[in-house]
């Protein structure tokens, strides 16, 4: 067969036109009704923070499975697009862009440390992807595109400090991790200590790779406080509790913490090392309610090797469910419509009790619990129903200033 040059050009043009349009047809069908709604997940599955991230992914998966078992959302199943951020802030930025631009997800749940949240939040703002941060943190994020479902200091630290001071005394020594979470939480601790008529003997910050707490333990002894408040984070900092006990200080000065036991410290430390440490969170695995028990059971059944299931996992599950409620109410995955629906005071009854989204702050009003380590388990002492995120509410009002977008830091 003879092909003239003109005909050949014509045919190639046709062929390439077909090739070019083909992806559009494919993409069009990808928007079809039967195709899944994509949920982005950015959680550390490896590296130092992975012990926190693993149960969170399991909880997110559980929420997705339940949504699908109930027939999906607006007639479509949901599907998780997960990236392991490897405890590396650079990976957060990279995968956040990928989720927004390549995967085009409807929502992203993720971020564990405050540093990782602040790394990805601008990306999701810029590319207009709804973002859920489901971790207890230092409070103050005021951003219409972001929902923070974990507890903030006004919900937990405010309960923890007076309870601990009542038991121990007024002179407090604060030790905290040296990054934004520890720095800001230490400010809140200082505030609540002063509010309750106490004094702060000293505040020490520790880089995350500090393993030797000898000099600090000596300093604490020299300062003779009645109580230690700890916001230490991660595996290296666990060494503090060990070295404290081995110096024979355990039982001499009580410890209350805003971070202890979020991972699996009570089970890995010896009973003598963790006994009587006080903590306050939005959730404890030991919580004795039917909803909590069935939540733990479901996760453990699907993933028998899940580490301790703390507020991180519970709030992730509830965050995903709250988002699903928003989509149901909006009848769409359009970001603006879902945000409007979420702002209408939606609530979800989950393992922690009822969590209600607050329009003004995009935080949740939720239950808080005070607990004490007894024989390597948390024993829940007291519950505080429907605690409001008052810290953030005092600085953030998205009803009045919907365009506000920053993290407020407490100042004295």
């Amino acid at each position: 067969m003879h092909l003239s040059r003109r005909r050949f050009l014509h045919r190639s043009a046709l062929a390439s036109a077909t090739l070019l349009t083909a992806p559009m047809i494919l993409r069009h069908s990808a928007l079809g009704a039967d195709n899944p709604i994509l949920i982005g997940s950015l959680h550390d599955q490896s590296g130092p923070i992975a012990a926190s991230g693993v149960p969170m992914v399991h909880a997110l998966q559980l929420a997705a499975d339940e949504i699908n078992a109930a027939g999906g959302l607006i007639g479509r199943p949901v599907k998780i697009v997960h990236y392991d951020t490897q405890s590396n802030i650079q990976m957060y930025s990279q995968y956040a862009q990928q989720l927004a631009l390549k995967d085009k997800v409807a929502v992203v749940h993720g971020g564990i440390t405050s540093a990782s949240r602040e790394a990805v939040r601008p990306t999701f703002d810029r590319f207009k992807v709804l973002y859920f941060y489901n971790v207890l943190y230092e409070g103050g994020v005021c951003d219409r595109n972001t929902f923070c479902t974990g507890t903030t200091p006004a919900q937990t630290v405010e309960k923890l400090v007076p309870a601990a001071m009542k038991k121990a005394g007024k002179k407090v020594y604060i030790i905290a991790a040296d990054y934004n979470y520890g720095q800001i939480t230490a400010k809140w601790m200082t505030k609540y200590v002063k509010d309750n008529g106490g004094e702060v003997a000293s505040i020490d910050f520790f880089p995350l790779d500090v393993t030797n707490f000898g000099p600090t333990i000596s300093k604490i002894q020299a300062a003779k406080p009645d109580l230690i408040l700890s916001a230490l984070v991660g595996g290296n900092h666990t060494a503090f509790y060990r070295q404290w006990t081995s110096a024979g200080m355990k039982g001499q000065i009580p410890i209350a913490s805003t971070t202890f036991g979020l991972v699996n410290e009570p089970t890995t430390l010896d009973a003598a090392e963790s006994e009587n440490i006080l903590g306050a969170y939005g959730y404890f695995e030991e919580l004795d309610t039917p909803a909590s028990k069935s939540f733990v059971e479901k996760i453990k059944k699907a993933h028998p090797d899940t580490p301790y299931i703390s507020e991180l996992a519970a709030a992730t599950y509830e965050g995903a469910q709250l988002w699903a409620e928003g989509v149901r109410k909006a009848g769409s995955i359009d970001r603006a419509k879902v945000v409007d629906a979420l702002e209408s005071g939606l609530s979800f009854a989950g393992p922690t009790g009822t969590a209600t989204l607050d329009h003004a702050t995009h935080h949740t009003t939720r239950n808080a619990f005070l607990a004490e380590v007894k024989d390597r388990k948390w024993s829940v002492l007291e519950s505080f129903p429907d605690v409001k995120p008052l810290d953030t509410a005092s600085v953030c009002d998205l009803v009045k200033n919907p365009a506000d977008n920053k993290q407020y830091v407490i100042s004295f």
Binding site: S46, G47, P48, A50, A51, V54, S87, D178, D204, F205, F206, P207, D209, V210, T211, N212, G214, P215, T216, S218, K219, Q221, A222, K224, G234, G235, N236, H237, T238, A239, R242, Q243, T245, S246, A247, G248, M249, Q252, V263, N264, E265, T268, L269, D270, A272, E273, D305, P307
Partner: protein, 288 residues
């Protein structure tokens, strides 16, 4: 007054731990010129060997003093045979290869044991000095550092193996012509260095949180100590560990742990600027 004794114990603790952490590296880096970036992971493996065996019912002292060094020594042997022996004399290549190795070890341990924090309780108790308290474990670490120092000195100075090892490190070709097999000496030395590092990891397990990534907290300090110490294994490591251990602990006590770290790294930079050959290059020439 009591507080000075307590701070002195802190300094002893810091120095002894640093010395134990660096000794294996000093042997591998100081003698063989292999930059072992997997040093932190050898420490981590030692800690894991201790925690896993202690939790399985092995006596904690046996787990620390026998299981950890034996296991990591074995790992070192395999690593030397499969990886390091191809890289002698290639400084940069050895860095890259051992860095990859460290990532591999972290990955394997994470896969097997997960990312959770592990640990064993600290044996021995505490004691009081006036109104202050400290732990017997500090004194035990000091004793272990002294024993290891004596042991390495004795092996290097008085045994036939020590003589051959030192000769091989100084001039492998000459040693070879005298009937020594350098490959075997290298292998044994590397395994010994790994075993000592494993022992350090085992000894630190009861006072730290044991995770797959714990090695990262130690490797930088170990390197500045060994480089600051210079070529002589024992005198260099000991002097540098004493210097940096004391600076770190006293700095952290007087200021905050953040500045404690900054002061150590700053003084390391100044030290290496003033003494490019390390402390031992200037003051302990020709010593072990």
């Amino acid at each position: 007054m009591d507080i000075y004794i307590i701070v002195a114990l802190d300094v002893i603790n810091g120095t002894a731990s640093l010395f134990l952490l660096c000794l294996g590296l000093a042997i591998i880096f100081g003698m063989m010129k292999i930059i072992n970036l997997a040093h932190g992971e050898f420490i981590m493996l030692g800690a894991y060997a201790t925690v896993i065996s202690a939790n399985a019912g092995v006596n904690i002292w046996i787990a620390m003093l026998v299981v950890a060094p034996l296991f990591v020594g074995l790992v070192g042997l395999v690593v030397e045979r499969c990886l390091i022996r191809f890289l002698y004399g290639r400084l940069v290549d050895s860095m890259l290869a051992t860095w990859g190795l460290s990532l591999l070890i972290i990955g394997i341990v994470t896969t097997i044991f997960g990312n959770t924090i592990q640990g064993v309780p600290t044996p021995l108790g505490g004691f009081s000095i006036g109104a202050y308290r400290s732990s017997y474990y500090t004194l035990f670490l000091l004793a272990m550092a002294i024993i290891m120092m004596a042991l390495v000195y004795a092996v290097m100075r008085y045994t036939r193996f020590g003589l051959i090892a030192r000769a091989t490190m100084q001039n492998p070709a000459m040693a070879n012509t005298l009937g020594v097999n350098p490959a075997r000496v290298y292998m044994t030395t590397f395994a010994a260095g790994a075993a000592i590092t494993g022992l350090a990891g085992g000894l630190l397990a009861p006072v730290s949180g044991v995770t797959p990534v714990m090695g990262g907290a130690y490797v930088a300090k170990a390197f500045i100590t060994v480089v600051g110490g210079g070529a002589a294994i024992l005198s260099g490591t000991l002097s540098a560990a004493t210097l940096f251990g004391a600076i770190n602990q006293i700095g952290a006590y007087l200021t905050t742990p953040v500045y404690g770290e900054v002061i150590v790294f700053t003084s390391a930079i100044i030290l290496i600027r003033l003494l490019p050959q390390g402390i031992s290059g200037r003051f302990f020439k020709g010593n072990l």
